[in-house]
Every structure is written in structure tokens, then in C-alpha cells.
């Protein structure tokens, strides 16, 4: 409106002023429209990114998995939010103006929400350190918190650089999870291990993409450190394999062992804590040879 009447008033200076004012008004309106005010997250990893970046009161609800200490780095923080179970009906009744979902979270629920006219922002699975930066910036964009996201990325970059500083020798480590699975390239666990200054034996043993690493191959590779998953309560054959006599012998023979925890699960700046957690082990191994 303003810019249509402005030329008639007079002079180019006034015109410019009016245009600037108009632009500012439109811009502010756009920003207000952009930033959602009631956000619901239904995926563990978007839960955590949103909790880190959202303005006070902006994030309404996170998924129930965010409360699970085994998987979530922010279980305490999650207690301050309404908990959802990712079901379309439940989410719709919360009347969100934005839903945050992972690429592979309950497709049926996400489609149902989209059909009901609720905007859904979908986040890819993060498999690298560059992916962590990307995810933070994307979340900043989705929540209208670009500045906070940029600050977080800058902080992440400097802390990561500090952690990677000095490595004289890369000790060979094995990642060994339930069912005998290991992680290869293009996985967050591999990136954490590499960033912490280890060499992943899955790559040297020919398991580039990860997958099931036979116990025999693991035994012959004789890793210097063995990093296993954290067992759940109750028993399962899948996890008992981490107590196999071969693994126990490797733990004794290897100079170090570590356990993965919630910080290994999601591509958020908390991966830095996982990298930091491995540092004492690497320093001890570096000193041995």
C-alpha cells in the first residue's frame, strides 16, 4: 500500500524512505509468519535439536523416546515438555503450526497430518559431522531461529577443531553392536570414532558399509580397543553376543574398551561429548606404542 501512494507525495528521497519503511514492514510480517509458535516434534533427533534451538514457549511437545536415558542425551530437559507418541490423532489435537519429523518416522502418521493441512518439516538422518552442521542450520530455519543456529554451528566448529587437534597415531578400534553389527563409512558412529582419532577396523577388514561382522573376522583383526553398545534390561541373544568369550578375550587383550551411549545416537552437537568421552582411551593407547 505505502509504496503505491509514496511516489505521488513527492521527491526521490521521500520515495526511498517510504520504500525502505515498507520493506521493513513486509519483512517483519514475513518473519512473524515464518516463525511457528506451537511446534510438536515426533522424532528423537528432531526433539533434541528443537529443544536446543527453540525460543522459550515455542516447542510444545516432544516424543516419548526423548525421555529414555539410553537413547536420549536430553532426557532431563524433555521432562519439561508435553510428551507425544507420534500418533496422527494425538498430534492433530495439539493444534501445532509445525510438526518436526525424521525421514523415516512413521510415514503413515506424517502423511495423515499433511492431509489434515498441518505443515511437516522432515529431517534427514545425520551420518557425518557436516551433516550435524546442516541439521542445526535446517532446524534454525524451520523454527525461525537462524541466528541461534549460526551461533551453535560456530561453537560446534571450534569445539570439534579443538578435539581433533593432536593425533600422533590412530589406534585401531572395533565398533561391535547387538547382533554382531558394526558401523562402516556413512554412519555417525564411524565419524565419531574417526573424529576421536581412531581407525575403524570395519574398513580395513573389508566391511566398508558396516553390517554383520563375523566374530571370527573380529577376533583375527585383534583391535586395540573394542567399543560395544549399552545393553538393555532383560536378555536377548542379540546382546549376549557382546559377552561371548571371544569378545571378553579381546577386551582383556585389547588395552581399552568403551561403551556407546545416548550421545552416539543422534546427529546433534552432543556428538562432541561422545568424541570427548573417547579421548582418554585414545591418549592411553597412543602412549602404549
Amino acid at each position: 500500500m505505502a509504496n503505491r501512494i509514496a511516489p505521488r507525495i513527492s521527491g526521490s528521497v521521500r520515495l526511498c524512505k517510504a520504500l525502505l519503511l515498507a520493506a521493513a514492514l513486509i519483512g517483519a510480517a514475513a518473519e512473524a509468519q515464518e516463525a511457528p509458535r506451537r511446534v510438536v516434534s515426533i522424532n528423537l533427533c528432531t526433539d533434541q535439536l528443537a529443544m536446543m534451538l527453540a525460543a522459550p514457549g515455542q516447542l510444545h511437545s516432544v516424543s516419548f523416546v526423548a525421555l529414555d536415558r539410553r537413547a536420549s542425551s536430553m532426557a532431563d530437559a524433555a521432562q519439561d515438555y508435553v510428551i507425544n507418541h507420534g500418533r496422527a490423532e494425538e498430534i492433530y489435537l495439539m493444534q501445532p503450526d509445525l510438526v518436526l519429523a525424521g525421514r523415516y518416522t512413521a510415514r503413515a502418521s506424517v502423511e495423515a497430518l499433511e492431509n489434515l493441512g498441518i505443515p511437516v518439516a522432515t529431517f534427514d538422518i545425520v551420518t557425518s559431522m557436516a551433516g550435524v552442521r546442516r541439521a542445526v542450520l535446517e532446524m534454525g530455519e524451520a523454527l525461525g531461529r537462524q541466528a541461534a543456529a549460526r551461533d551453535m554451528v560456530a561453537d560446534f566448529d571450534s569445539r570439534l577443531a579443538a578435539l581433533q587437534a593432536e593425533v600422533t597415531r590412530r589406534p585401531r578400534a572395533a565398533l561391535y553392536h547387538a547382533n554382531g553389527f558394526t558401523s562402516g563409512r556413512a554412519s555417525l558412529a564411524h565419524e565419531i570414532l574417526t573424529a576421536a582419532g581412531f581407525e575403524n577396523i570395519a574398513i580395513t577388514a573389508g566391511y566398508e558399509t558396516g553390517g554383520k561382522l563375523p566374530l571370527e573376522i573380529l577376533a583375527l583383526a585383534a583391535p586395540e580397543a573394542i567399543i560395544t553398545g549399552q545393553p538393555y534390561p532383560g536378555t536377548s541373544r542379540a546382546e549376549r553376543i557382546m559377552d561371548h568369550p571371544v569378545i571378553e578375550a579381546l577386551r582383556r587383550g585389547a588395552q581399552g574398551a568403551a561403551v556407546t551411549d545416548a550421545d552416539w545416537v543422534c546427529g546433534t552437537p552432543h556428538v562432541l561429548r561422545a568424541i570427548e568421552g573417547l579421548a582418554p582411551l585414545r591418549r592411553a593407547l597412543e602412549a602404549t606404542r
Partner: protein, 327 residues
């Protein structure tokens, strides 16, 4: 006929050796055998002693147990369809094993796992004999077996679904199909005591089972105490099937296929069939376990799948042959 036992023994020895030499780690024959015998401090010794040796030993123990149990049950019920897997004893044993593992009983004391499996297997056998009666007509036997298997299978799934462990549910397949992948010497020591006890008890049944081929009255006239025979059979079957299932899951059809193939070769005498089936069962399970490693090396193909592919057609054939009895 007299050459059958040495031949079977040779088969067990050859397949045992092959089982020791086959694995994902590419190591030469002489290297792996010397690593097995001499502890040279290399990781290869670990591989041979803690991965391949227990796997081969368990194949022999499980195979012998299931083959012998099948032969004994068939001799007692005088019915070629009586097999631990088909009549629900294996599923009952698996239920006990799962209960022992999920309640933490198995961690509480050493032999709790096989003993609980024995306990539920015993319940399964007793229920079956109560339903099918001492003569074990095919129809009742199979129906009772289906009912017991279904009940035990459902309870097993329930226990695993209730487990707080997210991996437990996917292991229903292991318990229903069986596998020897990634077992250790611990499992050998768990299964061995009860298996040996069961084998010894089954071995004493030979004379009684031979006499029983003449009918119950004739057997009694020959001085066979049927109640005692029955009791020994029930406890021995539950021991061997319980011990085998507790460490390897429910592997079906071994006790059906092996006695069926060997019966004509031993002149249909139950006492001789008992020992031949023990060796034959070991041969079959060793061969099947080598097959799963060769067919899909990275996938842990379940032993039960291979056994069902071999056994189910034979089962159909046997039903076809005994269909007059059903009519």
C-alpha cells in the same frame, strides 16, 4: 548292516572336521588345526577354540540327542510320526529356556537354563502322552502335537514380547527355528551334563523297545516293566530335548528324518536304531549346519529352515502312507 555303524562314525568324524575348517575367516587347513591343538597365542587359537570347536561339538550333541529321542519315541509309540519337534516337546523346551533367560533364573545358577527347559519339556511329553495314550494313534498324536506346539509357541512369543529388551521379540525366530551361530564353550558345558544323562537313560531302553514290537502283553510276558520303561523314556527325552533346545533353539525334523532313513538298514530293530539314529542325527545336523554357512554366510540362516526343507516333504510322504489310519 554290520558296516553301518563304522560308516556313520566315519561320517560324523569327516563332517566334524569339515565343520572346524569352514568359516568366514580364510585360514589354511594346517594352520587352523595347529591353532586348535597348540595354543600359539595368536587370535586364530581363539577362533578355533571359542567359535568353531563349540559350534561343531554342539552340532554333534544336538544331532545325537534329537536323533536318539526320535528313535526312542517312535519305538515306544510304534508310530513313525513321533518326533520331538512335531509333537511339541521342542517348543515346550524352548518356552522353558526363554522363561529361564528372561526371568534372570539362567543368570542365577549355572544349570538353570537347561533344567528349566527340561522341566517344561517334561510337561510337554506328559501332556502329549496323556492326550495320545500309550498306543499313540497317528491322528491323536499329531493333533495333540499341534495343540502343544501352538500353546508353547504362543507363550514363548508372549514372554519375549513382554521383555524390556527391544531385541527379544525378533528372537522368536531363533527359538522356533534354531541356530548354532556364535555359540561358545559355555553352551557346550551347559548342554553336556543333561545330554549325557539322557543318552545313558535312552541306551537302557533298547531291550524294552525291542520287546514292545511284539505288543504290550508279549513285552510284559518277557519281563519288561512298562511303567518303568515309560518313566525312563519320558525323563530321558525331556533331558536330551531340553538340553539341546536350551542352547540351540527348537530344531525340527531331525528325529523324523534320521530314524526313517536308518530303520530299514538296521532290520527295523529299535535297539539298534537307537544308536544308529544318534550317529545319524549328528551327521545330519553337522551337514545342515555346514550348509547354512555355505548358502548364506552372512545371514545366519536358521538350521530349522534347512531341516524343514528336508523333513517336511518326508513328513508329507509319511502322512500319505499312514492315511488309511486317519480314514
Amino acid at each position: 548292516m554290520s558296516r553301518l555303524m563304522p560308516l556313520l562314525t566315519l561320517g560324523v568324524a569327516a563332517l566334524f572336521l569339515a565343520s572346524l575348517l569352514i568359516g568366514p575367516a580364510p585360514v589354511g587347513v594346517l594352520d587352523s588345526l595347529s591353532a586348535l591343538i597348540l595354543d600359539d597365542g595368536t587370535p586364530m587359537t581363539l577362533v578355533m577354540r571359542e567359535i568353531r570347536l563349540p559350534r561343531a561339538l554342539l552340532a554333534v550333541i544336538v544331532g545325537a540327542s534329537l536323533g536318539m529321542a526320535g528313535a526312542a519315541m517312535q519305538g515306544y509309540l510304534r508310530n513313525p510320526l513321533a518326533e520331538p519337534g512335531l509333537i511339541g516337546v521342542s517348543a515346550s523346551a524352548a518356552l522353558g529356556a526363554v522363561i529361564a533367560l528372561q526371568t534372570g533364573l539362567a543368570a542365577a545358577f549355572t544349570l538353570a537354563l537347561p533344567l528349566t527347559a527340561l522341566g517344561t519339556a517334561l510337561l510337554g511329553v506328559l501332556l502329549l502322552l496323556a492326550l495320545a495314550g500309550p498306543r499313540g494313534a497317528s491322528l491323536t498324536l499329531i493333533l495333540a502335537g499341534i495343540a502343544i506346539s501352538a500353546l508353547a509357541g504362543a507363550l514363548l512369543s508372549l514372554v519375549l514380547n513382554l521383555s524390556p529388551n527391544p531385541f527379544a521379540t525378533s528372537e522368536i525366530v531363533f527359538w522356533m527355528m534354531g541356530s548354532l551361530a556364535d555359540r561358545s564353550m559355555t553352551h557346550v558345558w551347559l548342554a553336556l551334563p543333561l545330554s549325557v544323562l539322557g543318552w545313558l537313560m535312552l541306551a537302557t531302553l533298547g531291550r524294552g523297545l525291542d520287546a514292545l514290537t511284539l505288543g504290550e502283553d508279549a513285552a510284559q510276558a518277557l519281563g519288561i516293566r512298562l511303567t518303568r520303561l515309560r518313566l525312563t523314556l519320558v525323563i530321558a527325552t525331556a533331558s536330551v530335548v531340553g538340553a539341546a533346545t536350551a542352547v540351540a533353539g527348537a530344531i525340527g525334523f531331525v528325529g523324523l528324518v534320521v530314524p526313517h532313513i536308518l530303520r530299514p538298514l538296521v532290520g527295523a530293530r529299535p535297539s539298534r536304531l537307537l544308536f544308529a539314529s544318534a550317529l545319524g542325527g549328528a551327521v545330519l545336523v553337522l551337514a545342515a549346519d555346514i550348509a547354512v554357512r555355505l548358502i548364506l554366510p552372512d545371514r545366519d540362516l536358521k538350521l530349522g529352515v534347512v531341516m524343514a526343507l528336508i523333513g517336511a516333504p518326508l513328513f508329507l510322504h509319511l502322512i500319505y502312507k499312514t492315511r488309511k489310519e486317519f480314514a
